[in-house]
Symmetry: C2
Subunit: 109 residues, 2 copies
DNA sequence: TCATTTGCCTTGCATTGCAAGATAGGTTTA
DNA sequence: TAAACCTATCTTGCAATGCAAGGCAAATGA
């Protein structure tokens, strides 16, 4: 099992959390996630996810000119996205409590 | 995104951790996980995973008679499984640190 | 004998993340 | 002006994970 397999489903919540503080564009998201410790997160992972989130209306987008390179597509949270973020945080907290119990006990119940 | 989507890849580590303390059989694992807070974890999830872990030689199995019902298949950690468990714990700790940073900041960097 | 409980397993599916590469605009250097 | 190199977005095709739905089998009790 690779490290990235553990990400499944968690990445969306992380993107929502980062957008919570303000607009970001895809390339920037990839850089921030790397700085947060998610190494080897490729654009082939992030862009399709952003597109899906746009279809689900969790995010709003606007195109802006870049200082260097092609236009940037900025993402920000919709109202629906804010609600989804709150749900994610609840789920994440429950999950980490459960896993920590198991890992720290190393078994039993 | 459903709650269970966040599990992807984490379940294997939890199974290894539970087996660390001693032999368990599949049905019992499902019950323990439920008590740990993983509700709605079905046998359609657990049994195929156990079979895969057996193929990968992470676990050893022995059949025993049940007090009520068909034979039980008991699982325990192999040496390889113990190593895998340690790797999982490292990865889990890194992941939860990263996600907590993002969720608690709610963005920035 | 028939329902219930315990216990294992299979099939087929949707979703997620990734590798690899295509496409484009801008700057720098030769 | 051409070559090289960043920045930036997107697509295709794949493997892995978890789940719903269901079947099979052994023991117990009504």
């Amino acid at each position: 099992m690779s490290s990235t397999q553990m990400l499944k489903g968690i990445l969306e919540g992380c993107l929502l959390a980062i957008m919570k503080e303000g607009e970001v564009y895809g390339y920037e998201l990839a850089e921030k996630l790397n700085r947060y410790g998610f190494e080897s997160l490729s654009e082939g992972t992030i862009y399709p996810l952003l597109i899906r989130m746009q279809k689900e209306k969790l995010v709003l987008t606007t195109l802006r000119k870049s200082t260097a390179g092609p236009n940037r597509k900025y993402y920000s949270l919709s109202e629906k996205g804010e609600k989804e973020l709150n749900l994610f945080i609840e789920r994440w907290n429950r999950l980490s409590v459960n896993v920590n119990q198991i890992v720290k006990n190393k078994g039993g119940v």
